[in-house]
């Protein structure tokens, strides 16, 4: 995970997004392999991790009987690094009434309270798990906007899961696609967009060889062939054209071919450590 960036975690339902976030938040222990957060295993020093990680669980659970003020008090009492003034200020800007019960808030307000609760301890790593899944498009946009603002102020790293690509595209710098528990694609969104192309041309024979082209997916109809390739576009023959490949299409392409994948090469820094 690149530090200081907003990363999106996408994948079909049941792919392991929530499991992964729970592992990172120390709610689960891995049955195989290991996970390192801030260079440490979460379980070994859970308290240290909990102080630095803000987790927003799926469907933003809050105590329905608590008032908004009580909810902030909850955060204050349980987190040594809590910043009450910042949390109050954040909710005041959104006109959320402090004496109203959490159960009576709208879905959008509720998720803002959950976000404020997670941001109250100035987390270095923020892990929202499908925070906008149940929100209407306007509330979605509002939530994402607040999230990016807050992250820009705090400079924290974010790993956000969602199955709605449109949410991610607007805010994320980095993309991780997971399928059936495995990381399929991980990389900078700009880099991914620049290196993937969709080529459409006359139908190729099924066993045609493509030299110097890394093929992600090929689809043939009676008249034409569509090739999703990675890398630089080769000189195009007659009848071939390049079509735009937006991020959503790119993700769907990878999800439809679970065997295909691309992972970033280990960086020098990482290799040295």
């Amino acid at each position: 995970m690149p530090a200081g960036k907003i990363a999106g975690l996408v994948g079909p339902n049941g792919a392991g997004k929530t499991t992964f976030l729970h592992l990172a938040a120390g709610l689960l222990t891995p049955t195989a392999g290991e996970i390192r957060v801030f260079g440490r295993s979460p379980q070994s020093q859970l308290l240290l991790l909990l102080d630095r990680v803000g987790f927003v669980a799926q469907d933003t659970p809050l105590y329905a009987g608590f008032s908004v003020g009580d909810m902030l008090q909850f955060g204050r009492k349980l987190n040594p690094r809590w910043d009450q003034a910042a949390a109050v200020e954040r909710l005041r800007k959104l006109d959320i009434p402090f004496d109203k019960r959490v159960g009576q808030l709208s879905g959008g307000q509720r998720s803002q309270v959950a976000l404020a609760l997670a941001l109250g301890k100035h987390p270095e790593l923020l892990l929202p798990d499908e925070p906008v899944a149940r929100l209407d498009p306007l509330a979605r946009r509002e939530f994402m906007q607040r999230l990016t603002e807050a992250v820009a102020e705090e400079g924290s790293t974010v790993l956000l899961s969602s199955y709605v690509m449109a949410d991610l595209e607007r805010v994320c710098d980095y993309l991780i696609i997971i399928t059936a528990g495995y990381v399929q694609v991980a990389g900078d969104i700009d880099g991914l967009l620049a290196s993937h192309h969709l080529l459409i041309g006359p139908r190729l024979s099924r066993d045609a060889r493509l030299n110097g082209v890394e093929l992600v997916k090929a689809q043939h109809t009676e008249r034409q062939s569509s090739l999703w390739i990675r890398g630089t576009v080769p000189p195009l023959g007659a009848g071939w054209r390049e079509e735009p490949l937006p991020l959503e299409e790119l993700v769907i392409t990878y999800l439809s071919v679970p065997g295909a994948g691309t992972l970033p090469r280990p960086e020098l820094e990482e290799a040295a450590s």
Partner: protein, 174 residues
């Protein structure tokens, strides 16, 4: 954590106190009335006759007859288990709030420990108090036969006196 536990369970604490107060009050009051009645009660007459016949005496009689005091030991623990003990963690999991609670700056073990201590210890204290009151009542009741017998030889049996609360009330009314 203390504040959080109090905030989450204050309604339950109120209910537990009201119920425990009622049962404890019944028990203590009945014990007191029986204790007053015992010395002038012959063993041949049920102690119910010795309890005075005014409103408060009748309340004490009703408590004794229907064994109301026993509910303290039988019903209260069951209620506490069903409405306070079981939902202690189960309600969190039902609402998904355990993921919220366990990702604050308190480890899960400490969270559970604090909840158990802060909820279970006061409940045990209340239960112990009620249990003690019942032991007192049973002792008073049990001493009836011997005390009654000795008193019959010592002095004549006198008809039941008005109960103490009744005497207080009638004095205030005057």
């Amino acid at each position: 954590m203390i504040w959080v536990t109090w905030r989450q369970h204050r309604l339950e604490a109120l209910w537990a106190l009201v119920l425990a107060g009622l049962i404890g009050g019944f028990t203590a009051y009945a014990a007191y009335e029986v204790w007053l009645a015992v010395p002038n009660c012959p063993s041949t007459v049920g102690f119910g006759f010795c309890l005075s016949n005014d409103v408060f005496g009748r309340i004490a009689q009703a408590i004794m007859r229907f064994n109301l005091f026993q509910y303290g030991l039988v019903v209260l623990p069951a209620l506490a288990g069903a409405f306070i003990g079981a939902p202690l963690v189960a309600r969190e999991i039902e609402n998904g709030t355990q993921h919220l609670a366990w990702t604050q700056g308190v480890t899960r073990m400490r969270w559970l420990l604090m909840k158990l201590v802060l909820v279970v210890v006061p409940l045990l204290a209340v239960a112990a108090l009620i249990g003690y009151l019942e032991v007192v009542l049973l002792n008073v009741q049990g001493s009836r036969s011997t005390a009654g017998m000795s008193s019959i030889s010592r002095r004549r049996w006198s008809p039941p006196q008005p109960s103490l609360p009744w005497r207080l009330v009638s004095r205030l009314a005057r």
